[in-house]
Symmetry: C2
Subunit: 475 residues, 2 copies
């Protein structure tokens, strides 16, 4: 059997602001184990029996972040089909495009296992067993969903009502139901028939394509056109880039609405594994061990007369006489929310977005194809940055109109172009780049390189940059 | 009349952590008007009729901080008698030593007006009128207290029970009472006889000295000995430094216990002015205008479904669904406390102190005689600091064993000794100081100087410094 996990790595995760932001959203958040949600998902998927290659669908902006996570998991780049969207179009178009890719590259009988990149599943064996069941149903032409056996009356999830058993592997789906109110959710849980709709799916590629053709003919037509255009530009085995009018034309609709709620061949596999979609800070809070007063933190926190409070911070935090709070601290933004208001955090993000505040999108650390930079301090007239360059990577050859820069190497060895000079700078060595001078910073070693950059000038915006030559196509 | 305000500038203000810390305590906290509590007190005192000179009693550690505040108030240095204690010994010894100083330098008939440096008084005219009454009573040999007419049943203050009128200026003191419980406090307020004990005093120097001699003879003897030793080392008009065994021998006791509760010549002047001892973050919160939901902040805060919450921060803070919180944010420590638990914040400080955590004492910005430095970032192997040097000031000639330093001038003009070189560096210029090289940073201009320093080395502690020459006597 050819099983290909399709990992959907999108979604804003605005309820997890200020850690999840547009430039580095929820799938890239670190778990208590020090890994990202995406890395966790990639490893879980790659370890399944029969998996040779994986497909990742993500936004073009996250290409290098995804590659970092592949590297972190030790997954060879050539095992990955990367499907890049210039804009997110919801799950139905993503799954359609992934199915078209798999039909072409892996064959129409390939079994696809769709997994959101930002869920947590603790019991690997149970998960693997459920995937096995779904796979066997998919081979019998079912479109499978995974329904998690609920252990409390969650009102934030959709539910699946299951019916008769199917081939000893799963169950008939009676209906999908939207997020219920508390009373209804309690009835669902006690009934034993209702399962949480986990957003994971398993199907044979040709069955899914036939379903699109029959049940969503307009999207099917648009998707085929988009695919023909995109795949025509990519060679076999290369990443596929979806962009432009063909992508924008795709109807933004979920796979549940487009296919699963309409198809007569839908089955549900009961998942008995410990599952969470990490939908709020409350769910993150539950990942940490708690003290006797149910407080959770991964850091240096002093809880004084406080209970049921979660703290995420890299600084010293002291809480005094508080209960039921979520305290989430980042270098440039702090959130203090009541646990019962965890869903309202997305209001903060939409307000920040509408006032064009950068903290809805950017962190003080900004990832770049070549590594990252962190703004350590900024005042009128000067800015201090730490810049990390990956082994073998290089910033563009560039110059600035309005600022001079001082570079001090604090780790590794830098290869520096400064005007007409080519310099090799070791730890503790430095160079000065006047405004207008062409310069380039490169790491030609196999080790990490880090510098501290002090910028001086009357204008210090990131847009004061003229790129003369850039290996990432940005010049 | 010769009226000399005696400003007591001590006290830890631990309930105002993390802004108030041992190295920069409550009197140096900024008010909403951008001035410190000490500057506010100095100006209020200097503006009183008949005031030529002032006496400030403070810890030796705060000498340069006090001088900065004198400068900020435009008070000429020669108007100030500075009494420096190497360790705080409570109010009775401080007032005794100040009285001995004033006896010698201003005469025994001088009227002393003792004012804590960290109170707020809004109505200057009412305050001035009360001081006038106290002054006239002091001339009649009374030791005067100021009793503030209470406007609510505060349980955090001591009270003074007033009796019959005295000379139309004040009242007889029936008794001093400790902090009452709520019910008692309410009775006090409704009685009309009870006043808040403000901790401000007014007396003729010779009356206070006689009171010490008669009512606290042991302290009187110790104080005289301490004074003889300290004043013998100081020339007339110079600062007086109290230190060593003579200072440590002084009984640590409040002036209330030592004198006022025992003297038959105590009077109280009713203060109708708006007064606060800024004893907690609740009191600070009240200094700011509030929004419709009684939230207060001086900064960029998004209050979402929140009420009666105070935010002090230089970053973006968002609160969601919270009530009655104090959120106080500094670069290296964050406090989140319930308003009803404001008094328990001192527990945090004592825990930090016992675990030797630097945040009980130091800020990321550290004041020095020559200016200040701020640690912008620190990691193993490197540290980035911003260093500000006052006009005319200079750091010591020094070297380090374990670290190199890069200096970039970001504001003003630096005069730099680097090994054998003497350099003048303008904004944007830089120099590199290898480990072991003698160096000195000076500001020989009348304008502010600021540099960014990047330190590299395996050991970056502040104690890796060899001072060869220091104008502040630290070599």
């Amino acid at each position: 059997v050819n099983l290909v996990p399709v990992i959907l790595c999108g979604g804003a995760g605005t309820r997890l602001w200020p850690v999840s932001r547009q430039a580095m959203p929820k799938p890239f958040m670190l778990l208590p184990n020090g890994r990202t949600l995406l890395a966790d998902t990639l490893c879980r998927a790659a370890d399944l029996p029969g998996v040779e290659r994986l497909c990742v669908v993500t936004n073009t902006d996250y290409r290098y972040l995804v590659e970092d996570q592949l590297h972190a998991c030790g997954l060879a780049r050539e095992r990955i089909h990367l499907l890049l969207e210039d804009e997110g179009r919801n799950t139905a178009p993503a799954i359609l495009m992934a199915s078209l890719l798999l039909e072409q590259r892996a064959g129409k009988n390939t079994i696809a296992l769709v997994l959101p990149a930002d869920h947590i599943i603790r019991s690997r064996d149970d998960f693997s067993a459920a995937v096995g069941k779904a796979q066997r149903l998919a081979q019998k032409n079912y479109l499978c969903t995974f329904g998690v056996v609920p252990n409390f009356a969650e009102t934030g999830y959709g539910y699946i009502e299951s019916g008769d058993a199917l081939h000893g592997e799963g169950f008939v789906v009676r209906r999908f139901v939207e997020k219920p109110d508390r009373k209804t959710a309690e009835e669902y849980v006690s009934s034993g028939r209702y399962l949480w709709n986990s957003g994971m799916f398993c199907f044979q590629v040709e069955d899914m394509l036939a379903s699109f053709r029959d049940l969503a003919p307009e999207l099917w037509k648009q998707g085929k056109a988009c695919w023909v255009q995109a795949s025509g530009q990519a060679n076999a085995g290369q990443d596929v880039q979806l962009s432009g009018a063909a992508l924008s034309a795709l109807q933004s609709i979920s796979i549940d609405y487009a296919i699963f709620e309409k198809s007569p061949m839908v089955a549900v596999v009961r998942g008995t594994f410990d599952w969470s979609d990490i939908g709020s800070w409350n769910a993150v809070s539950d990942l940490y061990p708690c003290d006797g007063a149910r407080n959770t933190t991964a850091q240096r926190t002093m809880f004084v007369n406080s209970s049921n409070t979660f703290v995420h911070s890299s600084r010293l935090v002291a809480t005094v006489g508080v209960d039921d709070l979520l305290i989430v601290d980042t270098p440039d933004a702090l959130l203090v929310a009541h646990k019962t208001a965890a869903q309202d955090i997305k209001q903060v993000v939409s307000q920040l977005k509408s006032s064009d505040d950068p903290t809805h999108k950017w962190h003080t650390t900004v990832d770049r194809p070549w590594g990252n930079y962190t703004v350590l301090h900024e005042e009128p007239g000067f800015k201090v940055k730490k810049i990390e360059v990956k082994p073998g990577a290089s910033l563009s050859l560039q110059y600035h109109h309005h600022r001079s820069e001082h570079w001090v190497v604090i780790n590794g060895t830098a290869t520096v172009t400064n005007g007409d000079q080519l310099l090799t700078l070791e730890k503790g060595q430095s160079t000065f780049i006047p405004a207008g001078a062409r310069h380039c910073l490169a790491n030609q070693t196999g080790e990490a390189l880090a510098i501290v950059e002090t910028q001086c000038g009357d204008y210090l915006g990131e847009d004061d940059i003229v790129r003369l030559n850039d290996r990432y196509g940005r010049s």
